[in-house]
Amino acid sequence: MNFSEQLFEKIKEYASPKEISWVVSRSNGSMQSLQIAFVSTPRFISKTPILSTSVINDISINGWSLDRLVRVYILTTLDSSEKDIYTKTLNSLFETAENNEAVALISALPFFAYPKYWLLRATDAVRSNIGLVFDAIAFQNPYPMQNFSELAWNQLVLKCIFNDKPIHHIQGLNERANQALAISISNLAHERWAAGRTIPAQAWRLVSKFINEAIFEDICTLFISQNSNDNIAAALVCKETDFLALKGELKKHTELDKQILTWNTLEV
């Protein structure tokens, strides 16, 4: 089964017979009628929540609403053989999108033909100040991991940290950790600390392989933080890193050294 068929099978599990027949009746239309079908989906399809562990095209659809699933399905049925027509149709949907439509479009990016063509749409979603639109690119979405440059990737992760969003839902988080990102996290922490504010403790999971003198100092600061999550993060970094001086630091905190710790406890 191709992805489109897999999506349709999943729709059938959750939709009523009336809803299914609406989806079928909209399926082989012209580009324009598919556009209208995409836009008007909530008039015919409920927002029943999808509770499913299924993964389609590396995408977890758990927690989606049925209308979002149907919209993504409709997008996968667009004929992509003529690039100009295909991209024009999708671009006009992007440019006129209501918030829930934008979420569906961004969630559907990994299904689109010509993956690199959509890069600006994806980075624009990262720039979005609308929480749900940003989340649609950041979480449960393999598009950034597969297509983002290091700069774009780091921007995505930093914005998550900046807004206290759950970075552990980003696909490819550990695989794409890098030196520049580690330095940016350190700098962000310095700014926050100077203002009497904090950063989420689990952000430090991204620095373990990229310790330098400055980050070494940061970890020492975390050890003396009043927040126990910071202490745990510091110990975890020490356990993961090859930076020898930090191994010595950990020894000074025997309680933490002895404990079995995982980043999971900091995933909020």
Binding site: S92, E95, A102, G131, N163
Partner: protein, 339 residues
Amino acid sequence: MCQKHAEISQNPSHFEGTAEELATSKSVQANYMDYIKDMKFFDPHIHMTSRTTDDYTALIDAGVVAIIEPAFWLGQPRTGLASFKDYFSSLVGWERFRSSQFGIKHYCTIGLNSREANNEALAEQVMEILPLFLYKEGVVGVGEIGFDDQTAAEEKYYRLQLELSKEAGLPVQVHTPHRDKKKGTELSMSIAIEHGIEPSMVIIDHNNEETVESVLDKGFWAAFTIYPFTKMGNERMVEIVKKYGSERIMINSAADWGISDPLAVPKTAALMKIKGIADADIKLVTYQNAINAFAQSGQINMADFETPVVIDQSLKFNGNTVLRGGQIPRVDKNSLIIS
């Protein structure tokens, strides 16, 4: 609601209450909110794009739980299709999101306004993109459309958009002109009837003492805009409700970039309460009638704003940027310290 003395003498206020009532209304200026403590309001015409977050806070504090933002002109003519497109998408995008951050449910109506209908070359292009917007979630009508100068071009696009509303099964929100209002209102209604549109699907906006009777007699909804100087004052509004009752009458603020008052609906409710209008009637004209009229779109689910307001957990959980980094939406305006 301040009025210039010169204007009052030229256009006498329709305030006909007793001296005692006048004294009461003046003495409660400072605490009018006490009269509407447990009331909820629906403002079916307010241009939040032109307003600040302070206004959103004031609205929710005064009990306004849901609003409709009609598409209108921006104070100056747009020069291209892209600016129309961006404006329409902001009504279903950023503005809808911004409103949700204050716990206010935001709907909109979409249409080509009368003034810009006069740029026919551009109007043609706008007509082409309207269907993409009219079928969207939370779009509760075609609006605001109708007449301004009452030109042939305005009539042409009014008629074309009436047809669109029929096709989409959407109510129509009709703007009536400032000048020659009575004639423009009659014309708007007769054209709607000519197109086979049920009067119950049409909300005639910006009524006054001169237009209301005909609008109600013909079976249309009569909306009143409480707007200082140029439209209705709320003392006059109270008299209208006393005279015509509460059936098919609704009030709105039409607050925009001009000198206007986003709290016009709750303030008028308080004034009605003070002047002895029954709670049930107040509820109809400041809440329920507007909902009934626009819910004919199938796009209003009252549970979205009737259930005690919980700001969407997913939005709250994931933070956002009107309220950066988990900041709470309350700012003490009197505090010197900004933290």
